[in-house]
């Protein structure tokens, strides 16, 4: 139902095919593609701004989930169905779950809402405004980007199989008109990313392994007090400090 027809602006008084004066309805014609785009875009932008403005880190994570979910909706509307589903599964359902776990593990009372200084905020605001101005004027620069040639897109071409085959090195999609030369597949980046993910898996699991933290009980505290005097001193004569954490 997202793949909708071309809208026309119905003038009042238009009589439809069945002879009923549907044209008198107030919403003359709703381009559902544009309506859903507005919905998803507003949600994504509003939640992105909310991530910046929120103080509570758990709420920031929640707004980020909403923003990325709305972005997935935007991907579906642009015809990139595979990328939209992938965004939902990997980004929202994987990366953000990981992030929320991290937030939960470190959401102790003092760190849940750390406020930056106001000087930082003003400077960041100015930088952000300048960057936004530059990007917005670049967005409306090219004439061909402002208005599509079709009023509303027709059903999206199937995107999973050509993408899958491109990842195996075989390009089956039609080349855009005016393109010259042969187009390569993505086999090498695909293999590199696979190995990269494996390396990251091993590395992250090693980095975040649970280390035994020694909390001194009363007996151990006495024992360690005795042993501090016998411990070899560092270069400046100060006893080595970091032994207690490991």
């Amino acid at each position: 139902m997202i793949a909708v027809m071309a809208p026309g602006v119905l003038a009042p008084g238009v009589v439809g095919q069945g002879g009923m004066p549907w044209g008198l309805l107030p919403l003359a014609a709703v381009n559902w593609h544009a309506a859903f785009f507005m919905l998803f875009a507003a949600l994504a932008c509003a939640c992105a701004v909310a991530v910046v403005l929120a103080d509570n880190v758990v709420r920031m994570a929640f707004y980020l989930v909403l923003s990325l979910g709305a972005t997935a909706g935007l991907f579906f509307l642009a015809g990139a169905e595979f990328i939209g589903a992938m965004q939902l599964m990997i980004y929202v359902g994987g990366t953000l779950v990981l992030l929320v776990f991290g937030v939960m593990l470190t959401a102790q009372a003092p760190f849940v809402a750390i406020k930056p200084s106001s000087g930082d905020k003003v400077l960041a605001g100015m930088v952000g405004a300048a960057l936004l101005a530059v990007l917005l004027q670049a967005a409306f620069r090219v004439e061909a980007w402002r208005r599509p040639s079709v009023a509303a897109p027709v059903a999206a071409a199937p995107s999973a199989t050509p993408l899958g085959m491109a990842l195996l090195g075989i390009r089956v999609d039609e080349p855009p008109s005016g393109a010259v030369g042969t187009r390569g597949g993505y086999l090498l980046p695909f293999e590199i990313v696979s190995v990269h993910l494996l390396v990251v898996l091993v590395g992250a699991a090693y980095l975040a392994r649970a280390k035994r933290r020694r909390t001194p009980r009363s007996i151990d505290a006495a024992a360690s007090a005795v042993s501090v005097q016998e411990r070899p001193a560092g270069p400046a004569g100060v006893p080595l400090a970091s032994g207690g954490r490991r």
Binding site: P21, P26, L27, V30, N31, A34, F37, M38, C45, A48, V49, V51, M60, A61, L64, T71, L74, F75, A78, A80, I83, I90, Y91, T95, L99, G102, V103, T106, F111, P116, K121, L123, A124, V127, G128, L131, L132, L135, A139, F140, V142, A144, W145, R146, R147, P148, S149, A156, L163, P176, G178, A179, R183, V193, H196, V200, A204, L207, A208, K211
Partner: protein, 133 residues
């Protein structure tokens, strides 16, 4: 009777102006680029302003998503006017790799943050200054 009601709606005037102006204008690449710009800027400001390490990480995710929105917008042939051809499958493939690499980078960043938290009992990035000269 129904006709009178419909005529009343029309003369109220809110319908046609609302629909014709806002909802029936077709969506082009520029609209997607605006969304991408807002996401990117929000991400950059988030990275700059937040003192919580996880807040900085969220800023990074927003930046990458802004870039992804741009790529997907350029990849779609239905969104652009006559003239330049769309990126097509290449744009979608780039977005795919960006998502994968963002997931990997988020995992490593979180591992580092957790390690930092385990050692220093804080996630405040302003406290990570032991190497300061």
């Amino acid at each position: 009777m129904n006709q009178a009601i419909f005529a009343g709606f029309v003369t109220a005037g809110w319908g046609p102006t609302f629909a014709a102006g806002f909802l029936s204008a077709p969506v082009g690449v520029a609209h997607y680029l605006v969304v991408g710009a807002v996401l990117f800027t929000a991400g950059v400001v988030c990275m700059v302003v937040k003192r919580n390490a996880l807040g900085v990480l969220m800023g990074i995710e927003l930046v990458l998503n802004g870039a992804n929105v741009n790529f997907v917008a350029f990849a779609s042939p239905d969104l652009r006017g006559g003239g330049t051809p769309a990126l097509g499958l290449d744009g979608q493939a780039i977005a795919l790799f960006v998502i994968l690499l963002a997931a990997a980078e988020a995992a490593v960043a979180l591992a580092i943050t957790l390690n930092f938290y385990n050692n220093h009992a804080t996630v405040d990035v302003d406290r990570a200054d032991e190497l300061k000269g």
